[in-house]
Symmetry: C2
Subunit: 677 residues, 2 copies
């Protein structure tokens, strides 16, 4: 009990005195990062340094010492990292913890009265003012004696020797000894922490692997990867595309659902209500005679074929993400095996999904609560673990906002208990509170509104919120430029240039982003007046010509290579917007913490007309003088410039260069540290 | 257990499934106001309306209902106020609670699935789309039957009748009945709340009496209120000044400590170390042979005299505030009676107060922790309660930041358990974290940095922080323009005009403010190079001429009257700054919530030169059209104007009118609602 002895709740007072007082004599508050009072974990990635800050103070003038306590969640003992007083005027302390492993970590803060430093401060001021301090020296000796009793090893001996030296000396010599650096260091190592105060919450940081923050996703509609019209592409067809996808620079192949598709109420081409006998149906109507969420559509191949595909991806240094879509077709085996998981209507049918007056007749939903809750949740968990066992470590979750929040919190925690490397992406295209809540309860990444943010003001506002507000502690935006359900108006109207613009934005604004196949071909035919693709492959067979004229694969490969070569682009919250004096031109940059790598991007958001803008480089943030020269490499063209001062004009022409990516290197550093020239 | 049945922690799942999942299927978060996760109470005043807001949402499209639960802390049962969906796009709900009593209140939020509204929404959309809904009608009837089983009184009968009507009717008639307002109202009164979700924290709002927010304080140095040089003024002398203070418009007479003063190390005039035999000493060196913190200095009078003074204040509609300064003179009775409350040094002396190398030899401090903690804390509590019993309901606390935070939290809670009308003002002239912390743990009001904020930018920034940030929920600034320890440089240099300026600022920026006697006389002689008053009455006798030439008592009386007559000036967080196109001119306003009362203030912060500025009135905030005329009354001169449009020039001359206070009344309302013309 000693560590908390000086808290009032555990003090010597009568119960009446102590009742209800939980605060501590040393106040520790505004600990950062902290999410909702510690209710949810913040997120980081392996290799990150976690900066922990806190207001720490108490009454009076005494000196304090403080540490961050931290450990992997499965460890028994706390480790410590020092906190230092970073802003004395605001009592703000700061320290750093190295997060080396992909695992959940815990951390908190502990502080104590540093009696020796308090003594030293007061005694020093009096000595400086020419005052004699015989009493202080006696009191100081007592502190040394106490430390000697606590100390072990050579320090114990050194402190004993200090006591002897003091006892034989005159006041001026005693003062000299007591104020020496040697004694100060010794005393700092043996503080009296019996009355240390610990912050009243233990906080959690979930440390993901780096791929949670830095990855390029390619969404693959498996059955459209073949070459024969009217037939299913197979896993083997998909596998044949891997060298091309790898050459484009992608890290993740994301498959839409690979399971058997129901026949009852199967949708026909263009989302019609009646399917012909050969129509393949929507892969989101999961489950048929052949099986449910752990089965594979027979036309795609066998589980063995799937594993071979996964292995091939790994050989290419890529990995596979699967879609986790909990809905069922009316033919899903669960309905026969577990009718109690579904809600039957008075006429004996199961309510299909609807958003009145819209109807989704090929899908029914499970009921998450009821006496069957345990069985259902365990079954869903087992589905995820089944695919984990088969080499899948990334799940893109379909419509998580239509399933209960507590379910996701439970599921993700259960999966990651043994598999902390599993990443979950939430497709929560819904209102901000639910989108954020799902990120808080554990989703590693989130789809965002980026898909519909086209212009300078809205991009600046939204990205500033994502990267500079408290959201950055828990919400990682995965910027999808398009999806099977969303062909944004900007892409429909702006042609090939629009695809280039949106690609550069997605890949440089966020460290993790994705495209859905066809994007690289600038496919932009929509059902008029909607964001649906015309003749969407969701409902019919499709064969693509992956070398179609007008593709932008060169740009994609180049930008993905630039992302790999520039660590600044692999971070998210280092994004900053800078001045460009034209509303069509968005100018932003990312710098590594050590300023070794600085990349600036200017994008013409107008897909039709050229615009010229003067860009103002943030020389102070770049740790450069106003008059200093810097080397600029245009990373897309390879052209180099030598520039001086903050302001430089660029002309961005939709036909030639809708975007420029500049790597900047201070001129005088070039010879010594910069690897870029 | 039913209310929490749908939370996962109490669900039917196995322990393994439920472990660690505490979130609820309906998410309730970002509840406002909430301070540090509910750890501290927010503050309001009796008569206020508390606006409670929360994000409330769940998965899917179902409708929710929600209420604020609230009660006085001593009540057993919750009362309810409705929450309505104020911002559907952000799932933000809002409701209002009337805080009628001076007492602590608790509040929280509860929400539930509104099955009938969900049913009605879906059925209505289908009817609108021309769909037949026989199944829905059957399901809807079941909801009515369930409500009938829950209902009581006439509603139960009405619901039974509805069921009969439904059973005899055709589908179109059944739809008509089910969609009727009558059935909707009935169903809204008997919701199924068996699975309601309650926010996981109970929050507290401490409702003070209005004087905590709105009052004018006059700090009185009691012994200087007499008329004979070299003698103590008495309580009776103080009493004779009450009509004058009342005429000036003050509400609170605040006495510096009234207790016996120690003789050991007594300070002499001008804070010298040696006092002459007739020097009275600093009233902050509390305690002598005559007694300690519950005794009265014999020269001031008896307890009887004090009670008579308190009664006289009450008769004038004023009240008394006492100084609670815990330090002791070396002669305080506690030192003999309770030596264990003090820390003795190796030479047998008690450490006097110091801030090295500065020494306060006439003061020693108690030790708050140790085996004696309970006895000491109870004694200090009994001191406060002694004065409460003698009619004192306001305590200005000296240097609370040099005593432990947990002590204050305990003391204030203990005092206010039986005396919720007691107000504590913290003199925490220290760094912001401690200043704010003391407000959080219970101090009703705080001294602030206003005393040193002179110019437009710093006043605007600081007041915006105080009135618009989260601080406003717990920190009430009491704006003292001067104190016995602080004669600010602005007053020293700026002469009489400076006193006028600072008075208007204090009295109109904040709803609660104070001056220390002599301010009204524009006393501004300082110890050179310091903020100390020259020949401070803290250390010597003083007799004032309260009618001294150059006083500003007319202005004080007028402004205090204006504060009483204009409800807008009695609030704090309604302060807003507006545009004045001269950096010397500060322009701000306060409006009552209903816009019945709108007061605007323009102050020339330059005490030497006249400045002219165009003021831009916020017509939109004033609920007025750009072209609308409004009546303006200059409240200090009584002059009236009829103005149109936002921009109006004023010239503020230090000699004539360093400040103007305008009351604005929309012209077309004058005949109907405005009481001002």
């Amino acid at each position: 009990m000693t560590p908390a002895k000086d808290t009032v709740t555990e003090g010597t007072g009568a119960a009446g005195l102590a009742a209800g007082v939980q605060s501590r004599v040393i106040v520790i508050q505004n600990v950062s990062p902290e999410l909702d009072g510690g209710r949810y974990a913040v997120k980081r990635e392996a290799g990150d340094t976690l900066t922990v800050e806190a207001d720490i103070f108490r009454d009076g003038h005494g000196k304090l010492s403080a540490v961050v306590l931290y450990k992997r969640k499965d460890e028994a003992d706390w480790r410590e990292a020092p906190l230092t007083l970073a802003n004395p005027g605001l009592d703000r302390w700061s320290g750093e913890v190295e997060l080396t492993e992909n695992a959940p970590y815990l951390y908190t803060v502990e502080a104590w009265d540093d009696e020796f430093e308090s003594w030293r401060d007061g005694a020093g001021k009096k000595l400086d003012a020419g005052q004699d301090i015989p009493l202080e020296l006696t009191e100081g000796r007592e502190l040394v004696a106490q430390a000697a009793a606590r100390a072990g090893g050579p320090d114990a001996k050194a402190l004993e020797k200090t006591l002897k030296d003091l006892d034989g000396a005159r006041d001026d010599r005693r003062a000299e000894i007591m104020m020496s650096d040697a004694v100060r260091d010794l005393m700092a190592r043996w503080p009296d922490r019996s009355r240390a105060v610990r912050y009243d919450r233990t906080l959690e940081v979930f440390v993901d692997r780096v791929a949670a923050r830095f990855a390029a996703w390619y969404e693959m509609f498996h059955r459209s990867q073949g070459t024969v019209e009217g037939q299913w592409g197979t896993f083997d067809d998909c596998r044949r595309r891997l060298p091309e996808i790898k050459a484009l620079g992608f890290d993740v192949i994301y498959f839409i659902p690979i399971h058997p598709i129901g026949r009852t109420h199967r949708k026909g081409p263009d989302n019609t209500l009646v399917a012909g006998p050969d129509d393949p149906g929507s892969p989101y109507a999961i489950g048929a005679e052949e099986g449910g969420h752990t089965a594979i559509h027979p036309e795609l191949g066998t589980l063995e074929d799937f594993r071979r595909f996964v292995a091939a991806c790994h050989e290419h240094g890529m990995e596979v993400a699967l879609d986790f879509a909990i809905q069922c077709s009316p033919d899903h085996p669960w309905i026969k095996e577990h009718p109690e998981w579904f809600r039957f209507r008075p006429d004996g049918t199961i309510k299909y999904a609807e958003n009145p007056p819209k109807k989704y007749q090929d899908i029914v939903n499970v009921e998450f609560y009821g006496d069957h809750q345990d069985a259902l949740w365990q079954e869903l968990l087992s589905v995820v673990l089944f695919w984990v066992e088969n080499g899948v470590k990334i799940f893109r979750v379909d419509n998580p906002h239509t399933k209960p929040v507590p379910f996701w919190e439970w599921l993700i925690r259960e999966v990651r208990r043994d598999h902390p490397d599993v990443i979950f992406l939430a497709e929560a295209f819904t209102r901000p509170p639910m989108l954020k809540m799902l990120a808080k309860v554990g989703f590693s990444q989130s789809y965002t509104y980026f898909t519909w943010r086209d212009f300078k003001g809205e991009l600046t506002d939204y990205l500033t919120e994502l990267t500079q507000s408290a959201d950055k502690e828990f919400l990682r935006p995965n910027f999808f430029a398009n999806t099977p359900d969303i062909l944004p108006g900007y892409l429909q109207k702006g042609g090939r240039t629009a695809f280039m613009v949106r690609f550069v934005l997605a890949a440089t604004l966020s460290s993790v982003y994705g495209i859905y196949n066809g994007f690289e071909l600038c496919e932009n035919e929509a059902v008029p007046g909607t964001e649906e693709y015309l003749h969407s492959e969701k409902y019919q067979f499709k064969v693509w010509n992956w070398r179609r004229r007008g593709h932008i694969k060169d740009l994609i490969a180049k930008v993905n290579r630039i992302r790999r070569e520039n660590p600044a682009l692999q971070e998210l919250d280092n994004l900053r917007f800078y001045e460009a004096d034209d509303d069509n031109v968005l100018f932003y940059g990312k710098m590594s913490a050590d300023r070794r790598n600085m990349v600036f991007v200017a994008v013409n958001l107008d897909p039709f007309d050229a615009h010229e803008a003067t860009l103002t480089f943030p020389l102070e943030d770049m740790a450069m003088e106003d008059t200093e020269s810097f080397a600029v490499e245009d990373l897309l063209t390879g052209k180099k410039h030598l520039w001086t001062g903050p302001d430089h004009a660029v002309r961005l022409d939709p036909k030639r260069n809708p975007a420029v990516l500049f790597r900047v290197v201070p001129w005088h550093h070039v010879d010594f540290v910069a690897p870029s020239f």
